[in-house]
């Protein structure tokens, strides 16, 4: 960082510049999280507004429902699976983009990143159309005589939810890994080559460890939104594929704010734990550590 402390009044100027953003974040990020917690301490049921009561009743009732724990466990398993598989599938893509693509690099990059510009819901909905009982897959299977009746298991299962989420998130997972590989000092791989390491060994000992921060970033960028997803489960999950987000949505739709707040606190705490571990592992401490 340049020695801009020499700028007359720089310290005060920094404070002035950051005052409005800081207040905005305080009012619309920090305070709302506090108010969420306040709602979770309200008595359970349909509550029209915050009252001056503090009770653990909503926690007791919501958390004693065994079915919610099952949904929470399922959500965690789906989020972990989706994040691991998406990162594994995305790594070779990022590697190809960073190291193999030379000619037509821009075209290849654009093709791989274009899905960011397409609608998230469109990408989910496409699979409903493909996998449904009257969907493209079933009709094609029947047309070529492989099956005689539509197969129902494609849709409305937790497997369907996980598959669609993986499809949605692979492009997202590829981005941080690609950015990391892109910044890597390539002479290190050449040095490994010169020292007689075979390509696999060079990859395992040099490239892979150096891309770890990108892998962690990708993992958490996929896992955290997946924890709070309800659109995918609504579209392709059915009853057995419900996630925590669906339950929260049902609570809010029926105006049972305290119960919804308890489950949202649970969601945020899970994400917070993941985030703290992620920040530790990837060594992110300042804006300069995150490259975009």
């Amino acid at each position: 960082m340049a020695d801009t402390r020499r700028i007359p009044g720089g310290r005060r100027f920094g404070l002035i510049l950051s005052a409005v953003p800081a207040l905005w974040l305080l009012a619309f990020f920090v305070v709302p999280l506090g108010i969420l917690v306040a709602w979770s301490f309200q008595p359970p049921g349909i509550v029209p507004g915050l009252r001056r009561v503090v009770t653990l009743e909503s926690y007791r009732i919501t958390l004693s429902a065994e079915s919610y724990w099952r949904v929470l466990a399922r959500t965690g398993v789906i989020a972990l699976t989706v994040a691991v598989v998406a990162v594994a599938l995305a790594y070779p893509i990022a590697y190809t983009l960073a190291f193999a693509a030379r000619r037509r690099r821009n075209l290849v990059l654009t093709l791989a990143l274009l899905p960011f510009l397409t609608s998230y819901l469109l990408r989910i909905y496409a699979w409903r159309l493909l996998l449904g009982t009257k969907g493209v897959f079933n009709e094609v299977l029947q047309a070529i005589g492989l099956t005689h009746e539509p197969l129902g298991f494609f849709l409305y299962s937790r497997t369907a939810v996980a598959l669609v989420l993986i499809y949605v998130w692979v492009p997202w997972a590829a981005l941080p890994i690609f950015l990391r590989l892109e910044q890597m000092d390539r002479s290190l791989v050449e040095a490994a080559d010169d020292l007689g390491a075979n390509p696999v060994r060079a990859f395992l000992r040099v490239t892979l460890p150096m891309s770890l921060p990108g892998i962690f970033a990708a993992f958490f960028f996929v896992m955290i939104p997946t924890l709070g997803d309800f659109a995918t489960a609504s579209a392709v999950g059915g009853a057995s594929g419900q996630m925590l987000g669906n339950i929260i949505q049902q609570y809010l739709n029926s105006l049972s704010y305290p119960g919804g707040a308890v489950l949202s606190v649970l969601l945020l705490v899970t994400a917070l734990i993941a985030m703290v571990i992620g920040a530790k592992l990837s060594g992110i401490r300042d804006v300069g550590d995150v490259r975009v």
Binding site: R11, G14, S18, L36, N106, L117, G228, A235, A271, D286
Partner: protein, 263 residues
């Protein structure tokens, strides 16, 4: 590309691209399906849903709301995120570290959690969800992207430029106006586009904070339960996607041509 060990990678890459685009192409085809049902058997091509879309006032209203929300929230996110980027990348001041962590945390919060928190805050304050509440929500989640994009650019500025300005007697006002803001230009543009796209496609905050002012994704999502709304929505979303993708590709081609012409 020439090295043989990359063949496997390329096969994988093109398979991935094929799988990535296949569902979207199927969907685009179905938006031109001459049938009331989004299902096979195929009954032929028609533009009836595109025609119907132009006469679906609720759908067009949601598109207008989405554009307004995206423009407003991107403007707020870029102004606040940009100011914060200058502050944290160029100055030391009390609370800087806490502020950086705070400003980056919307990146790693499930939007559903923030959406519920904001909704409950507005309910507690007696405010009804509408366009301004969605704008607030989207501005908070887009701000870290603006901060990162602008800060990365600022951290790349040659410190000698600042020193030269200081030696020439510039104060922070002229350093801001004549050095930072001109150099931030491209990053601000990228940040605005990123924030716009983020807001335009965002479902969870919009779902809880838009009330009766449904944005396009909320309208689309509620269409999952009312199948009769879906075909025109699908047509509109496909059209928007084709326009955005077409615009991006053509701007890519223009940049490449310009670069080729320059060398």
């Amino acid at each position: 590309m020439s090295r043989p060990r990359h063949v496997g990678l390329w096969v994988y890459f093109w398979l991935y691209i094929g799988l990535l685009y296949m569902p979207l192409l199927v969907l685009a085809a179905f938006s031109m399906h001459d049938s009331d049902l989004l299902a096979l058997p195929w009954k032929g091509f028609s533009v009836r849903w595109y025609h119907e879309m132009l006469h679906a006032p609720a759908l067009l209203r949601s598109l207008r709301i989405s554009v307004v929300v995206a423009l407003l929230s991107a403007t707020i996110a870029v102004s606040l995120g940009g100011a914060l980027a200058i502050a944290v990348s160029r100055f030391r001041f009390p609370g800087r570290g806490v502020l950086v962590v705070l400003a980056l945390s919307p990146l790693v919060i499930p939007y559903l959690g923030l959406a519920v928190s904001l909704l409950m805050t507005f309910v507690a304050l007696g405010l009804k969800p509408s366009i301004p509440t969605v704008v607030v929500g989207h501005s908070v989640v887009a701000m870290p992207f603006a901060l990162l994009l602008v800060a990365t650019r600022l951290l790349g500025i040659d410190p000698e430029l600042e020193e030269a300005a200081l030696d020439l007697g510039a104060g922070w006002r002229s350093i801001l106006g004549r050095l930072y803001i001109p150099l931030m230009g491209p990053a601000i543009g990228t940040a605005f586009v990123t924030a716009f796209i983020l807001s335009f496609d965002e479902l969870y905050l919009a779902f809880f904070l838009s009330g009766s002012d449904q944005t396009l994704p909320v309208y689309f999502f509620s269409g999952l339960r009312h199948p009769e709304f879906l075909p025109p929505t699908l047509a509109l979303t496909t059209l928007v996607t084709v326009l955005v993708v077409g615009f991006t590709l053509s701007s890519q081609v223009v940049t490449l041509r310009r670069r080729a012409a320059a060398t």
